[in-house]
Assembly symmetry: C2
Homo-oligomer: 915 residues x 2
């Protein structure tokens, strides 16, 4: 019926509704993401509130030709669209008694947060608000809807935004009115209050714009449509596009959709349904609803929602101790109240689960007996439910093996491996602070501030939470014995975070709101003071700190999880090793399915009581002879540690990294501890303080560490090599097959490697000669300095394997000290300068270029050379996907992360084969 | 006359002598570097002591086939070689009265330090030592030569090396004898002592090897030849080859050459001659000699050497206040003593200078009236002489323009721009310590330890040397007013070094032998204590610290230097800009020929008295409003600083970097200063200490600095931009043309740049609107983070220019904190892990790959985009050569370095065109 000549060939409006749609899912370029999706939901037969989409072409026409031309081109089609809605909804646009109300929303091809302007309840005016009042018999609802329309319209269409630093002008009026009336919540305002507010709002618009709020729904509609078009070019959106490389000429689509209400009487309702149990994963349809209510009422929690199914309702009642009679009277299920609607809902739910092949979370509204599906999305679930649902759907034949694997959100497997708070425990629990979820799990304990106290209290059988500004290697023993660790500095890859994840211990870092006072042994948070011995609880998976003691429950490895992991190994190409420094960790890693040790950090061994004294003697020694003497004491202890590692890891490779951290880390920094060390070692406090001062560096991360230690003090490399080789020969004598891999850290130029390798091979030969027996071993290096990656071709001529140390590589490639990023990383993430924390997920665009380059150059120089990655990224699924694509052989991560990595490795292989 | 069938076709020995040679300069592969060179010297007619070279093929034959086969193959040719020597020298190998003595030296294709085994005086035995005694009438010389032969033979041929940690067994015996005799110097041993030593040495050899020291010269010779062959495969040499990629099968050549002696009576002499004056560059032949002496006697300085030419001799005498009569009697010139030999020498000198087209330093020996040229090499000279000689030779037509430019050792131009010690001053001056030559020049002053003292003493007209562990921005004012700066920590690119070079102020860093005690205001060096007020002197060009006051003289810009620099600009492609932060520096830079400012560091301005208070207010402020208030005070001061820079640099580009260093650098770290600041600002000391603590970072180099400041505190970027733009408009009103370039530091991802650029452009537009006038300006970035280089293509889509900040890029690419490398860099240089300090010369293999990659990607994304480099490397000739090759447009360096860079830029262009 189009009459406009100029645009005869272009269709600007696509309608949907009543199980039909002119568009479909693949038309995102024209209809935007939201519009295409609304069309698709109609196409699969869902009763979605009808509407229409103005195409992105309409927007670009507006931008190029202006409002007049655009209006001319789209007027007739929009009018037809509204007629379509009136027809399907049985109401009239601007009708006094049965007003058609619509929402107007922007929707570009890709999601553009910060540009999604929305106007709801459009179509209301001074007359139809009365109609809505009568029809709903709920004047409060009608007037609240009207004041919302005016407020959103004022903001989005008329541009009444708050001035910089001020609050929204409409909100100011609400605050004013509330304080006048002496009430605190919006919902405490009466119908008359809302009426008054509508008047104030309209007056505000008149004053600020010189025009009255438009009573004509058509004027409202056109205003909203063009405002959304206009918003494409606002400053925020333009900057967002520039940052994200989105072309300026794409334009946005506009969706106009009928509003439906669940609060138009006792045949109306609103609710949420799930196709399976989100907590346990059991295959049972369930959900909650409220009669004669809006969605917000469910959220507000003022009324108790009822169960959708009869079975669910009975289950709920029995748990709540409510009799069947009372239940039936006061809390009947939807199945009992509206059996037909219930059956429709259950059918749709079933259909949706089959369509999306996943558990669905469905929002619905029943308006005067008619069921509307507002939204469906993949349902949130616990880790346990996630695994069960995937494996159940595999058994049910709904998913094949690869699909079942791809259904897993790998990091959430963590939930199945760590303690969690009991469900009931969290009710009424008080969050006193939030930090970073540095290591998952739940823990309750009494506050202690020093590692020694954690040790002493643990000896008395007490549970403790070790609270520190940040931790250092000195705190290791205490961290081991505490139930959880809380710091107020540091990030996701601070010392505390890394060590805790390695131990599988609950940890929250960077809880900056908490002030820690070591002297007084107190913490202060929001004015509240907690002291040593007070109970707190940590949720390491969310970063929440609770006051008091909350009971926890231990996890169990379910059959479904075991099956899932076996399935993952079947489909993975990348192997998963573990970072482990002790026999216990090695055993744990093996239990979790690790295929070897990718990183054994020898420095962690040095902190054991026997070794630390000898280590400190070595550091205090002024010459080679003195260092050798001290190292001779370390040798047998290291050797026996390596033997234990080799025994647990029999038949699998064990990569041992030579000493890496700067020496000052082995000296105490607090005077108390220094004094103790002085006594133990029989030297003066001054001597120790002088040594500490002489080892102090401006930037220790880039200082005298890694192979730089082995080069300046070759005797360290000699003794460590001797300990490794002797240990390997010892276990060999006991019939255990071992594959030691000696890894030289922090190489930047091949010559560093050549010199260290010469010492290693020479020492090994000496041991072989002494013992009259040989073993084969490999010598390789970490690639963790950008220069090493850039010159990987040279290094690969000498090194037998590479292991990418992506923690340090990330630090140096970005120039980010991971201990210091707290001051700007949050801003970087908020402003979207970074899309994610590059210490959690590998930065493919920068660090990844180096990894890929080094992998390629390394393999070119030494075909088939083994490549691994052993940074924190080794346990991160997105990074694992990248390592898979870069052609690595394995990743290595903390033992508790091994199951996650195994699944991620399988997913990477499936995803990248495009199957 | 060869008789061996198997090797008929292979020639293993190449002779030279008497102005003829079988080999020549191009035969390095066969004859080794030294052998080829000896042949070439003969070919141009020099009377070089005759000899022969065993080829590298002889060595490989020995290595593959063993001693017997090799001996068989070369025996006859070696014998013929010795006969050749006997003939030319008129002596006999093993002759009792006229013994032919030879040296045996290794000489591979490329220089291999640590493998150059040498045996001298070979041919001496119990009999011929007596003959040499008689002939020389110098038994002490003969017996000393003999004991040297036995010692070297024992070491090189018989392998009597010192055990690990012990001293050489022969040296032990010398020490023993000296303490027995109660003498301290070797030269105090008598003839009988030396005889006794020869006996002891022979006994030592008998005991250790079971064989007597061979009396047969042929046995000696074969032993030496095969020992040199064997040394090719020793551990040290093999590791050296592995490190340097030298094939194991190259082998080494062996040079056997007749020994000549200048101490065989009054017709013998030894000396050194120069073709031009090494101090002034004047074109006059000169030199010194000693009659009846060995080269060592000249070095020992026991006798006063005489001048070679009569004119030189007279000049010397008049300067020393010696009468002509006395001169003639006691210190006659060679020209007077042996006029013919003198003429020969002068002729050879002339010939050599023409051959090598450069001033020559010639070692000669006259043995019984016959002149031998032992060595000729390019003569060392002062910077002044270097420039004068090159420009003279250009005028003389000996060199063309390009050759004259290539003759310049660019860094030594520095000598012409800085004060130097007076020639006479250094005689008897005592070096008390050595450090790194961080900034050239000479300075004398009284020791002070604190910047404030330097200031106070300077106000009293005193010259001071500021002595610190290391300097920080707080010391800037004191550094300005001191004559020189001495630190006992830090390297060539420490704060002190960089700032001092920028100021053109003499500086020595990292003089680790010196203990500095701030409390007692003393320095202790080798037990000696110097206190505040004591005089010391620094030579910043050599790193030497002298006790006491040494007079200095100021340089003057010679005509030759001006001509040279003009010539350089004519031949250069790369432009040279300067790093300058003040109007004075900018003027200096302009005077030295800079073509703009490549780096103006705004933070240096902040340290000026007026600004530092406001800056600290800004840092202490807790919110945006507080920061804005403080910044408002900074604005007018910065604006006027920029105006001054623009005025001096009219018509040239000025690149201004936005605030870069971490904020803690602007706060005092010593309690005294903190207290002062607290008073000035009216806040508590605790508040300041709390702020300092909160700004403390684990690795500040990688912390909250650079654009990270501008992103977290956008108001800083706003105010700096406003100051720049307002300054540019102000000078424009005065008719001055300016080209501001605003540089955003420490970009790692393009989004950081986009956000900062948006603020800059918005602020500039605001200023343009306010003032109703515009200027054009550019916004670009430093490429100093590896990630920026790796993603230069993305960044270049937005940034209008790149300036490579190679200091930080080097730190991050290597993972070297330049403040902390003191502990391992010396070892790295000694062990040849690094060939040079990468902070002085750019590391082409690693950092250079990033620079080249970024330059290419940047230009691909933005064709013709200007590229510069502004790190310390901008003044380093090797790095300038690299930047030229990488296609950069300019380098920027400290003003005093501009002349050096201009010459280096010309040389880079000439060198890389292969002309």
């Amino acid at each position: 019926m189009r009459t406009n000549n100029a645009t005869t060939l272009t269709k600007y409006v696509y309608t949907f509704g009543d199980g039909k749609a002119e568009g479909h899912a693949a038309m995102k370029e024209l209809l935007g993401g939201k519009g295409a999706n609304l069309a698709e939901m109609n196409r699969i037969g869902l009763p979605v509130p009808p509407g229409f989409t103005l195409t992105t072409e309409a927007c670009t026409l507006y931008i190029k030709k202006g409002r007049e031309k655009a209006f001319e081109a789209i007027e007739e089609e929009v009018k037809a669209g509204i007629r379509h809605l009136e027809h399907l909804m049985g109401s009239g646009f601007g009708d006094r008694y049965q007003p058609l109300l619509v929402s107007v929303r922007s929707g570009a091809r890709v999601s553009m947060p910060g540009m999604m302007d929305t106007v709801l309840n459009l179509g209301l005016n001074d007359e139809s608000v009365e109609g809505l009042s009568e029809k709903s018999q709920n004047p409060r609802f009608a007037w609240d809807a009207y004041r919302r329309l005016i407020q959103m319209y004022g903001d989005v269409v008329l541009g009444l935004k708050p001035e910089k630093g001020e609050t929204d002008p409409f909100d100011q009026q609400i605050q004013l009115l509330k304080s006048e009336k002496g009430v605190s919540r919006d919902s405490d305002l009466s119908v008359d209050d809302l009426r008054q507010l509508v008047g104030t709002f309209k007056q505000l618009i008149q004053e600020k714009t010189g025009n009255a709020f438009p009573q004509d729904p058509w004027v409202q509609l056109w205003g909203a449509i063009f405002a959304v078009f206009e918003s494409w070019n606002n400053e925020r959106a333009a900057l967002y596009r520039k940052l994200n490389g989105i072309p300026d000429d794409w334009g946005t689509a506009v969706n106009v959709q009928a509003m439906v209400y669940g609060n138009l009487g006792d045949h109306s309702a609103t609710g949420v349904a799930f196709t399976r149990d989100a907590a346990t994963g059991e295959n049972r349809f369930n959900g909650e609803f409220l009669l004669n209510a809006q969605g917000e009422d469910v959220v507000a929690g003022i009324r108790t929602p009822q169960e959708v199914s009869l079975e669910g309702s009975r289950r709920w009642a029995s748990r709540a101790g409510i009799s069947e009679a009372l239940r039936k009277e006061q809390y009947p299920s939807l199945e009992e109240l509206m059996p037909e609607v219930y059956q429709q809902l259950a059918d749709y739910a079933h259909k949706l689960e089959r369509h999306y092949k996943d558990m669905q979370d469905i929002e619905f509204t029943i308006q005067e007996g008619k069921l509307w599906i507002l939204q469906t999305r993949t349902g949130k679930r616990t880790g346990t439910a996630m695994v069960k649902i995937a494996m159940d759907m595999l058994k049910e034949g709904m998913l094949n093996e690869k699909e079942a694997l791809m259904r897993i959100d790998a990091p959430r497997i963590d939930d199945l491996l760590h303690p969690v708070f009991e469900d009931e425990a969290l009710k009424g629990a008080r969050v006193i602070a939030r930090g970073l979820p540095a290591s998952p799990g739940a823990a309750s304990g009494q506050i202690v501030f020093f590692a020694d106290d954690a040790k002493a209290w643990a000896a008395q059988g007490k549970d403790t939470i070790l609270v520190r500004h940040e931790t250092s290697p000195e705190d290791l023993r205490g961290m081991h014995l505490a139930k959880g660790i809380l710091t107020n500095r540091g990030g996701m890859t601070s010392h505390a975070a890394i060590v805790a994840r390695g131990m599988g211990k609950c940890c929250i870092t960077g809880a900056g709101e908490i002030e820690v006072n070591y002297q007084q042994k107190t913490i202060t948070v929001q004015g509240e003071v907690l002291k040593e011995g007070d109970w707190i609880s940590l949720n390491g998976s969310t970063g929440e700190v609770y006051a008091g003691k909350l009971p926890t429950q231990n996890p169990s490895l379910t059959t479904e999880l075991r099956d899932l992991l076996a399935l993952a190994d079947k489909h993975a190409k990348l192997k998963v090793r573990a970072n482990a420094d002790t026999a216990e960790d090695a055993q744990l890693a093996r239990d979790f399915g690790a295929r070897g040790i990718g990183l054994a950090r020898t420095e962690h061994m040095f902190f054991e009581a026997d070794q630390i004294v000898a280590m400190r003697e070595m550091i205090l020694a002024d010459d080679t002879a003195g260092r050798r003497k001290a190292l001779a004491k370390i040798l047998p202890i290291q050797r026996s540690d390596f033997e234990a590692l080799f025994e647990r890891m029999h038949d699998l490779p064990v990569t041992i990294r030579l000493l890496d951290p700067p020496l000052h880390e082995f000296l105490p920094h607090e005077e108390e501890n220094q004094r103790q060390m002085a006594e133990t070692m029989g030297v003066s406090l001054e001597e120790i303080q002088k040594k500490v001062a002489s080892l102090t560096e401006a930037n220790p991360m880039m200082g005298h560490r890694g192979c730089r230690l082995g080069i300046t003090f070759p005797e360290i490399t000699e003794v460590q090599t001797r300990a490794i080789i002797e240990a390997a020969l010892n276990v060999k004598k006991r019939g255990i097959h071992v594959k030691p891999e000696i890894m030289v850290p922090l190489i930047g130029r091949y010559r560093e490697f050549v010199l260290q390798e010469a010492i290693i091979r020479k020492t090994a030969e000496k041991v072989f000669e002494e013992q009259g027996e040989r073993i084969s071993f490999h010598v390789g290096t970490m690639i963790e300095v950008p220069r090493a990656a850039l010159t990987a071709d040279h290094i690969a001529e000498y090194a037998e394997f590479f292991s990418f140390g992506t923690n340090d590589l990330t630090q140096l490639t970005f120039g980010f000290s991971r201990d210091d990023i707290g001051k700007f990383l949050p801003v970087y993430l908020k402003e979207k300068i970074l899309d994610f924390d590059p210490f959690k997920q590998i930065d493919e665009g920068g660090v990844g270029r180096l990894v890929a380059y080094a992998a390629e150059k390394g393999r070119a120089a030494r075909p088939g050379m083994p490549l691994g990655a052993c940074g924190e990224h080794g346990g991160n699924p997105e990074s694992i996907d990248f390592f898979h694509r870069a052609g690595l052989d394995y990743v290595s991560c903390s033992p508790f992360r091994v199951p996650v990595a195994r699944v991620a490795a399988a997913q990477a292989n499936i995803r990248n084969r495009g199957e």
